[in-house]
Amino acid sequence: MYASLHLLKSLGITIRRFVDTYVDDLRWFFKGGFGARYTPDTLPIRQSPTTSRGIFTVQYPAERLPLPERFRGFPFLIEEDGRLRCTACGTCARVCPPQCIWIVRASDPETGKPLREPAEFHIDISICMQCGFCAEFCPFDALKMGHEIEIAAYDREKDLLLDLERLRKPISYHAQIHPTEYAAEQERKQAKAARAKKG
């Protein structure tokens, strides 16, 4: 007595899901012709918990899901007005759980005194665990987590041990991927400037 009522009910659920995909395809076809379902504009509709119907998968890499602002990729250093915000204080290197950040602090060539900038800055992103502590605890907002995810490479040492040149990103990139955070940053800055003017 295996094939009976409840089994058929279960199969009914499966078939409904199967049919849903084609119904949804047809719906989009009447709206916009062949392939109308698979355009970037429909992505939010297909991926929303309220409106998603039928097949749920995304045609990666032809389609890509947008990354939320807080997404943690790999760290980068922010360059503002031609110089890095980083002061080589070493907080990120100390807080890094797998210890993949290496910093050489610059020193004045004449006096030998340490300067507030890095001479070398290395992040081994083959070791980086993307925890985001470096960005979270940076006292100068100099280091943020980027949104790159496709970093496959052939050579670990050459391609994945990033140096200062490859870590340096303009502030416009930061503003683009972290709009809310950037706006808050600017607001704080202006408030500070206003206070300084008053005082």
Binding site: S10, T50, R94, P97, I101, I103, G132
Partner: protein, 586 residues
């Protein structure tokens, strides 16, 4: 578990001292609980179990103190955490000689100690006298030494504690492989050669199985077959190896062989800073990282005495319950996969999981390795968008999913034919083996830490502890289904009452010192009791960091569950226990 009234701690101590004069004394500051004389341990444990209601041995952990500290001599220490049906732990400390550490085994009193004592032997070299089968459990025989001893150093050893001084201010990068290149990154015990070594299974793996073969049924002579399932079998949910002795198609004896994913998480944890351990905990049970952060921050917060703001507690509960939902959904899906309902239910579950992961990504910044909780709160606040998505899921979408799974499976004849009466675990055995989570509640034991020993703000929510009486794979499925509904109930209450306010107590600090002491933080994780035992010596790094992993301890009963069943049932029993190998092997 008996339902005796819990005696007062002071009363307990006097009763123990009356009964065992000179054998029990309170542990000195800053330690908790009692120190028990080594030679009376088994008697004391039996007394506690039978007469004081401490029927549940949750955690056994070894600690190495190579130097005199807090007025106690150099020693190895074994710490036991015992529980009554409600309330917090009773901590027992047993001291062993530093040179020749021997402690009596508690396996005869609490079978739950079997795997954990083997682990303590493996990682710390503490011998347990009377243990039926004291072998290495996570490491192999070609491993040199006992890694959690304080004087043991790994091949890649750099410094005792992080942060390493080579990183700043003169940090010139060096690849770890160049310091210990291939071929020189291994160390064998003295006199041990990999060439002479016979594969482990021959030497010790099959030995207990030969003993079983001796007791073969003479009335029905069937050839004994030793069958290896895994470590690359798709149903083992990772790299787990099951060594089964079969008579015909029936299991006579089955033994899980662990350690293929071992990375000595606890040694890494002792090197790390307190803060640096949080992202590492994500990697334990990689299906539910949110609930892995939680007991660790709970244990450290206990030591630090931090108060968590109300909003942060609510967010923790929301994240924790979403994680439970996600884990149970995927677990039911995998169970169907193992039954041969290939990827239908699984993909339905993964679709819902996708939305929950979106919520995690939006809030914490990562889908699976959330790294979200901090000492004294959570890393980021939930945005309005995230709260909106959470409401949509908790009130609309996920209840529909649970109903669909219920309609799909609960009365499904094929599903029932494979799960009803399979892998029956009687309640007394479940408690004795230290099982927790849906495995324990599936045997009819209503033990849920959220209710029995409430942490965070769980005492403010209205929910039921789901149990099912039969103790078979189907009961465990029913418990998971019920718990998904209860999770949604908690989520709905939490989202309706979510208060405003800060999500962090004080300012986030990169380096923090934790007052000396010991603490055991535990929560009801989706898979069972997840506990973190931490010892602090007052410094910036944990002195000892131990994880009581529910998957690991639940696996201890696997052999009992499978005995007498068909080989095809092993797959479904394992799926109903619900393990994650990242947590089993640590």
């Amino acid at each position: 578990m008996t339902t005796e009234v819990a005696p007062e701690p002071a009363d307990l101590l006097t009763r123990l001292q009356e009964r065992f004069p000179g054998a029990v004394e309170p542990a000195p500051e800053p330690y908790e609980g009692l120190i028990v004389a080594r030679d009376r341990l088994v008697e004391v444990a039996t007394f506690l179990r039978d007469e004081m209601g401490y029927g549940y041995l949750s955690n056994v952990v070894g600690v190495d103190y190579p130097e005199e500290v807090n007025g106690l001599p150099p020693r190895f220490e074994v710490v036991y955490h015992l529980f009554q049906p409600t309330g917090g732990p009773l901590t027992l400390h047993v001291h062993a000689d530093r040179e020749n550490p021997v402690v009596p085994s508690l396996v005869s009193v609490f079978p739950a100690a079997e795997f954990q004592e083997r682990e303590a032997w493996d990682l710390l070299g503490i011998r347990f006298e009377g243990h039926p089968d004291l072998r290495r459990i996570l490491l192999w025989e070609g491993f040199d030494g006992h890694p959690l001893r304080k004087d043991w150093h790994e091949v890649y050893y750099e410094e005792e504690k992080k942060p390493f001084s080579s990183r700043w201010p003169e940090g010139h990068p060096v690849m770890a492989e160049s310091r210990a290149p291939l071929g020189r990154n291994l160390r064998y015990p003295p006199g041990w050669s990999p060439e002479d070594w016979r594969p482990t299974a021959d030497a010790w793996g099959y030995r207990p199985h030969d003993e079983v073969a001796e007791q073969r049924n003479p009335a029905m002579p069937v050839d004994r077959v030793v069958l290896n399932m895994g470590p690359h079998h798709p149903s083992t949910h990772g790299v787990l190896r099951l060594l089964a002795t079969l008579e015909g198609e029936r299991i006579q004896k089955l033994e899980p062989i662990l350690g293929f994913l071992h990375r000595c998480h606890e040694k890494i944890g002792e090197r790390n800073t307190w803060l640096g351990n949080i992202p590492y905990t994500d990697r334990l049970d990689y299906v539910c990282s949110m609930t892995n952060n939680w007991p660790y921050v709970l244990a450290v917060e206990k030591l630090m005495g931090v108060e968590v703001p109300e909003r942060a507690e609510y967010i923790r509960v929301i994240m924790g319950e979403f994680t439970r939902f996600l884990n149970h959904a995927v677990s039911v899906g995998f169970m169907c996969n193992d039954l041969g309902i290939y990827f239908t239910v699984m993909l339905y579950a993964l679709e819902e999981r996708e939305f929950i992961l979106d919520l995690f990504e939006m809030t914490a910044g990562s889908r699976m390795m959330c790294n979200y909780m901090r000492f004294g709160g959570v890393a980021h606040d939930m945005t309005d968008e995230a709260v909106g998505l959470a409401r949509e899921l908790a009130f609309e979408r996920l209840p529909r999913f649970v109903d669909k799974v219920d309609a799909y499976l609960t009365e499904n004849e094929l599903f029932r034919a494979r799960t009803v009466g399979v892998g029956v675990l009687p309640p007394d055995q479940a408690v004795a083996y230290g099982c927790s989570g849906p495995l324990l509640r599936g045997s009819g034991v209503p033990y849920d830490i959220r209710r029995a020993d409430p942490y965070s703000i769980y005492d403010e929510f209205d929910f039921d502890v789901i149990t099912a009486p039969d103790g078979d794979a189907y009961s465990r499925y029913l418990v998971r289904l019920g718990e998904m509904r209860e999770s949604l109930r908690i989520l709905q209450q939490a989202l309706n009452r979510l208060p405003d306010g800060p999500v962090m107590a004080g300012k986030k600090k990169a380096t923090l010192k934790v007052p000396a002491g010991e603490s055991y933080g535990r929560i009801e994780a989706p898979k069972g009791e997840l506990g973190f035992y931490v010892v602090s010596d007052g410094g910036p790094n944990p002195y000892r960091y131990h994880i009581r992993a529910p998957s690991f301890i639940n696996l201890g009963v696997m052999g009992e569950l499978c005995r007498g069943h068909l080989i095809a049932d092993v797959v479904i029993i394992l799926a109903s226990v619900d393990i994650t190998l990242g947590e089993v092997d640590r």
